[in-house]
Amino acid sequence: MHLALDFPPISHLIRWPTIFGSGMWAVNKVVLLEWLAVVLLIWFFLAARKGALVPSGVQNVAEAAVDFVRNEVILQTIGPEGLNWTPFLLTLFTFIFVCNIFEVIPVIQMPVNARMALPFFMTAIVFFIYHYLGFRHQGFLGYFKSMLFPPGVPKALYLLVSPIEFLTYFFTRPLSLAVRLFANMLAGHLLLATFAILTAALFTATYIGAVIPGALLVALYGFEVLVSVLQAFIFTILTAVYIGGAIHPEH
């Protein structure tokens, strides 16, 4: 029995043809989805602004989101003085979540964050914010001192520690922040595509053979919902950790 199982090259799964525009302003499915996410978020927050005493519907969800970001992200990492960062972190969390959840919505099925552009851009914003905060709260020299010479390390070890810390702040942190989100969504997308192709091929070959991969595919959809939430949460909480570290350094 020959199984018609040819996996398409990766570029077929994530590279979308241009719909209109050209060059730098070319618009494809991914860009349209980003716009859709923005529109959805604006609608979401406008609908939640009613401020009814007894919340219902969208307002309920929005208040739960605010509560989550405030209690689970900010108070756990920055502390009470970080509460004025709630709007920024809430926007970050909800935007990343909406962009991720496109992965499992039928017909759309494309996580926007599986292309490097958006994670890279958001990471650039976070990168500039925490360095700016560090300079503003600790002064130029003070920031570099607390960054390169963490207290409680034997003097001789600074030869080793300082370069590592420098790389961490300027290279590893932004790189890992962007790559973590990007690679998780790309891996999830490829995983779903692989199982969908496998299920389809087995279904055309033998009806019964598609049962197990089909069931696994459904389970993976549930798993990817979890990953979408988790990656939005992790991106937000890491941003909060970096901001907290810049606002009050270790003593």
Binding site: Q76, S176, V179, R180, A183, A187, L230, I234, I237, L238
Partner: protein, 86 residues
């Protein structure tokens, strides 16, 4: 040996095959350490919240942070596997 010589006649095929092997090794190698590391992180978080259930919330947040830092290494390998091209 015979198969290798046959493949060597077609250098392009050999290169494509070795690229595929390299990709597999890169991701497989990158997954070893983080796999063990995430196991340690989660295991200790479970131990912590079992010993002190009232601190389970703090342990969970720290656990996710630890997973995120550990997992980043495996994801670098994942991305690197795609970057490698013959």
């Amino acid at each position: 040996m015979h198969a290798l010589m046959l493949a060597a006649q077609n250098a392009g095929e050999l290169q494509a095959g070795l690229t595929a092997v390299g990709r597999g090794i890169v991701y497989g190698g990158a997954a070893i350490g983080p796999g063990i590391g995430i196991g340690i992180v989660v295991g200790n978080a479970i131990t912590a919240s079992a010993r002190q259930p009232e601190a389970a919330g703090a342990a969970r947040t720290t656990m996710f942070l630890g997973i995120a830092f550990t997992e980043a290494l495996a994801l670098f390998g994942f991305v690197l596997a795609f970057i490698i091209s013959g």
